[in-house]
Structure formats: C-alpha cells, structure tokens
Symmetry: none
Subunit: 417 residues, 2 copies
Amino acid sequence: MKASIITIGDEILIGQIVDTNSAFIAKSLDRIGIEIHEMISISDSKEHILKTFSKFQNKVDLVIITGGLGPTKDDITKKTFCDYFDDELIVNQEVLKHVTQLIEGFFKRPITQINKDQALVPSKCTVLHNQVGTAPGMWMKKENTVFISLPGVPFEMKYLVENEIIPKVVEEYKRPYILHKTVLTYGIGESLLAETIENWENNLPDFIKLAYLPSLGSVRLRLSARGTNKELLEKAISENVISLSKIIGDSIVGFEEDETLEKIVGRFLTQQGKTISTAESCTGGKIAQVLTSVSGASNYFKGSVVSYATETKVSLLGIHAELIQKHSVVSAEVAQQMAVNVRNLMKTDYAIATTGNAGPSKGESEAEVGAVFIALATPNEVIIEEFNFGQPREKVIDRAVVKSLEMLRKEILKNVQ
Amino acid sequence: MKASIITIGDEILIGQIVDTNSAFIAKSLDRIGIEIHEMISISDSKEHILKTFSKFQNKVDLVIITGGLGPTKDDITKKTFCDYFDDELIVNQEVLKHVTQLIEGFFKRPITQINKDQALVPSKCTVLHNQVGTAPGMWMKKENTVFISLPGVPFEMKYLVENEIIPKVVEEYKRPYILHKTVLTYGIGESLLAETIENWENNLPDFIKLAYLPSLGSVRLRLSARGTNKELLEKAISENVISLSKIIGDSIVGFEEDETLEKIVGRFLTQQGKTISTAESCTGGKIAQVLTSVSGASNYFKGSVVSYATETKVSLLGIHAELIQKHSVVSAEVAQQMAVNVRNLMKTDYAIATTGNAGPSKGESEAEVGAVFIALATPNEVIIEEFNFGQPREKVIDRAVVKSLEMLRKEILKNVQ
C-alpha cells in the first residue's frame, strides 16, 4: 500500500518554515506498513494543486494534504477539493457547533464569518473532526485513491493523524503485517553505538530493518519487521532484542515507542513512593518543566526554586554569601548546598541542583561559557558532577537537563534491586 | 526565474529525519529573487529520479538535488546524472587531491577506494568544489534547465549553496528584486485578524503578496514584494506597513523575523530597569524557562518558586492553608496570593503566578481540566484572569505561558509612554 504527502503553502516554498508535518505523517504511515511514494511541497495555486492530485490519482492509495485550510485568504484546499471531486461546499452543523464553542467559549472572542466558514466542507466528504482546532479534516475517495486534507498547524495535524486517520486506515485497508520494536538507549553516542552493535546489526534477518533515531543524549533504535507470518516476526524481534540487550544492556533504558527519561524517572519515583525537588540556576526551571510535562508528576514532584539571581540563592535557598564569595556562584560547593537546602526546604527524598553559565557571554561569575555543575542529593549522599556543555545557550541548558535526569535515573535504579 | 528542489533518500520518506535542506536552499534562492516551483522528496531509485528530472526539464531554470551522493548511498545521483546527460564518470584530479588531503592529512586515515571514488564526476559537469567535505557538487545544463547536485550533509550543502551556487547564479542570471517584511502580531486570532485587515489586504498592490504564519498566541504577517524597481518596492512595503499599523497597531509587537514575546518583554524590562519573578504551579516552571531562554535574562529575571505541591505553596510561598481550604488551590484568591508573595519574597517589580489543572485527570482540586488562573502582580496592583485552555496537557501549559507573557507585556507597555 502506497501513499503520497502534499504540503501546500508558500511559506514552505520560500523556506520561511521547515516542513515537519510530512516527516510526522510519513513516520505514522510507515509504522502501519504503508510505503511513502513521494513528499511534495507546492504553492497555494489551484492549478498546481489539481495537477498534483491528478499525478497521484490511482498511482497511490492515499494522498495526504496539509496546509491551505487556514481561515484566511490563502485558504484554497477546500475549493480545490470541490473542483477535483465536482462537489460543492455545505455547512457541517457539527463542525459549526464545535467552532462556535471553541471561539466563544474557549478563546472568548466574538465569532466571525471567517470562523463560521470553517464549517464549510465538500458535501460528499467524510469529515475528520478536529477537537483541538477549528479547521476540520476531510476524507474523499476518487476511484482507487483516497484524498485526505488536514490543517497545517502541527498539533492539529498530529491530532487528526493519530485519532482519525490511522484508526480509519487500519480498519479499512489490508496491509502487510509490520511489527516495530523501539529500544531507547541513553548516554552512548550514535557512532559508538553503531560500532558496538555492528556484528549484531549485520546478522539481522532481511525482513528486519534497523533505524537509528538520535536525539539529545539518547538514541532510539527501531527494529521494523515486515511480513505475513505474525508469530515469526514476533519471535525474530524478541530474539534479536534479547541478543542486543546482552551487548548494550547498560545503555538501554526502555522499550516503549514514546518512552522518555522523564517518564522513566517518574515511574521509578512513583513505584518507590519517593519525591523530588529541584534548585535551578542556569537551567532556569527547565528541569522542573520537563519533570512536570509528565502527567501524574504531582505524585513525586513537589516543586523547584529557580534561583536565577545570586541574591535569590541567598534569600530563598539560604546559600551562605561567604560560600559564594569563596568558591564563586558557579562551583561544586554552591551546587551541593543548593541541592541539600532545596531537599530540606521541600522535604523530598531527592533533589537536583544546577549552577552554570549558559552563555553567550560570561555572567556574574568567572565561569566560562558552557560550564555547569550538577548536584544530586539523595537520601544518603550528594553526587556532584562538573561539565562543559559548550554552546549555544539552548544546547547548554538542554544538555544539563538531560544529564541531571540521567544522574537521577542511575541513583534511583540502585534502589530497584 | 524558477527553481525546483529534489531531496533523495529513503530516510526522509520513512520520516526518520526531517528535511531541513530544502528550506535552507529555498530561503537562499528566495533572497535573490528566485521563485521555488516545487520541493519534492523521492526514494533512492534511479527510475524515480530520472522521471523527476524529466518532469522539471525546461519547466524551471534550476533543479537543485541533495542527497544520494554519500559513499554509502552507492552514489546513485552521479550514475543517474550520467544516464540523464548521456555522460560517463571520470576522475577529477583536483577533487581527488582534495579528498586525499582531507582523509590522510586531516582525518589521518588511510585513503580507501570508496574515498577515491568520490572524485569520480560526469565528464561534462562543472565541479562545485566542496572545501568542507569529500563529496563535490555538480552543475550540468540540459537545454534550458541547469541541474545541480549537492551532498545531503547539511553543513556541506550549506557551504556549496553560499560559496558556489548563489554567486554563480547571481553572476549568470538576471533576476527580479524581492523584498520581505515581517509583522509580528500577538493576542489577536488569525481569523479575526484576517477580517480586521481585509480591506487593507484587498488594496495591496499585485506585486505584494501577504502570508499568514500563525503560531501559538501569535500571527506573523509576511509581506513579499517582487519586481524590477527596488526603490518602488521599498516604498510600497513601508507605506503598506504604516497603513497596517494604523489598523492593528495595538496588536503589533515587532517587525523582526525572529522576534518573540519573551524577547520583547525582556527588552522592555531591561530598558525600564524593572525585575520579575514567577510563582508557578500548573506551568511547572515553563514561564521561568521561557523567560530565561533569552540571553541577558539575568538583567531582569530574579527567580521562580515552582510550587507544584500544595504543601510547597504553603511552606515556601506562605499561602495560608485556610485560604486554600476556603477557595481551593485552583482559585483567583490563591493565584493572587502566590503573585504577591513571590514578588515580595524576590523583591521584584513584577510577578506572575499560575495555578490550574493541566490534566489529563482532575488533580487535588475540583477544578476542571484546562482551568487556569493567572495573576500578574505589578508595582501597584494585581491583575487576575481566569481561563479554560482545554486540552491536551502540553497545550494548556503552553497557552498559560503565552497568556501570562501577553498580560505582562500589556502592563509594561503602560509605563513606556
């Protein structure tokens, strides 16, 4: 089964924004065994869109279109759908009701005609209801090809792909059996990982594909097995994951597709009934923000003191001014005191503290750009590590966040056995 | 003058990596007045590539291809070039010399046959010398269309675009001028904005195109003028921006392409020598993190108390337990107390406080999912607003962050006059 992805919008063609939608859609379709034939970005011109539709007609089973649905002048996809399917726009009452609720109830704005026009859809289309935005998705079939139109706003597009399109496709189309298994590794670089598992990778059966998906501090290994015999695929996947674990077991932190370090840490803390707090300087509250991005974080996260200014470290965290004077604000000693004091302040089992210079220029201290001290207070001790995370600013902060969560995970794991 | 961009590589078609090369190339060409006809991503198959070449033959002036050049990719692009141009691969001595220097001199590795093969190029092509990598770029013309092949490694591609392609194109082709102007608006929805400026938009001259680029809480308006008379374009753009300002002046927050609300707020606070702190519950430290994502934030941001647990609100922020019992932890009263107390604790001029339920399930309080109270303490008063930001969790948090920065900006602006 094949699909093509069309992105409509001049903002992409002039390079003002990077098209991340196509990659998300491709990944989602690939997971259910659909092959992507082409991804194409075209302008908001009706002729260009029609021509592209015809090009894919009966050549692929699915054509997914994003963009060109916004409530503004450059909104063109709907009209083009009407032309291509010889259809007309009608008001969909359910969508109108939803749009009205969203605009008046949620955004607290007067509803405008342009808002109401979002409820206009081709009469023959199947509406894909967009619960997180105003522009509905549309599903229309012509001969052997289904054309699906989605809004270009990424989180609305994602919502419709995950909650409407994938379930509908899975239900309506027979596809080869495809089995994915994700192995999340932390703390080992992509190239080193590749070298370490080279033999294992070379011995994978032909029907298992391996993908490296690196992101900050972690590499996701995705094994994809494609075939007709489900049992065979499952057996092959699990056998190879076991043999992989024997090689890089220490670096493997999880096997869930959407697994993250903050979720893992959160689960451990919940299981053990332990709590955590943070005292953040250079990370500016991002560790707290990442920890609380997990639902249920209130079970283990009590709070944070973001002591960005030195005086805040003194007044709120009770760091002694002498200590700061003696060792400078970016020092192991200050990081340690921050961790211990916030742990006591918040009465938690664990506490993470960061102090450093994220740059671009030197701050109050003499610490060089990229220098970060991370302290982890556990019930029994305080572990302090020094890093230089280089540049730029946002990378320094992100690396400090990942590192501190890694340190936390290691410590919590000790109590699991 | 028109161009198309082709990206070759299965890793893009399965969504494993996002294609950022095309956006970079498009932006670079757009700046010198070249219009992008299409961007297309296709597989590593020779047939597919040839078909795509023919499709663009004599339809555009330039076709820029990235990917399919790496030694591991079996150099599919070079072979396809030879087929398409009826040519053969020969060793380019200059490239061979460069590759040898790079591998043996710089990487200190013995040169392999695969390395040497990188010096093989079609005999009729103009070589674009890649000083930062081993794979050379290739420039070949057929009839009215020039085909340019570049390596897929972003920084090698960028080097060749900036140092080889743009200068060569500028020298060899006559092009129209193109001017862009970005207008950043906040606090007014895309559709309401569109209605408000409809007449203005309809009166734009034909040579000025308008694009709406919405993102959370903000809409970027981009005016693009294209023509031969540079002065005329500049005059028209500035005149229309002025007339636009007369209509939506209050919503316009900036004119820089990379302008953000946190940067604007940061500049105002710095100019006025004012400081800010935050007390965050449902936003979990994200307001602090967004404020500190701006370099120089230490000039105005003192810190934050992320009081996620109710007990932390009591112990660290000194919120009275009775107040919480009486009004519930998610209430205007608690938000107000949080803002006032953190402002006093941190001795700042302004303070932002948030309390709410980000979901997915109801928390300690009875507040419904999405309910958020934001309190802004200024030197003179406390402004409290109630919202329901709906779902999902991450959107509730992001909307609360944007809203609170908007509230802050409005207040600070009052003191600008």
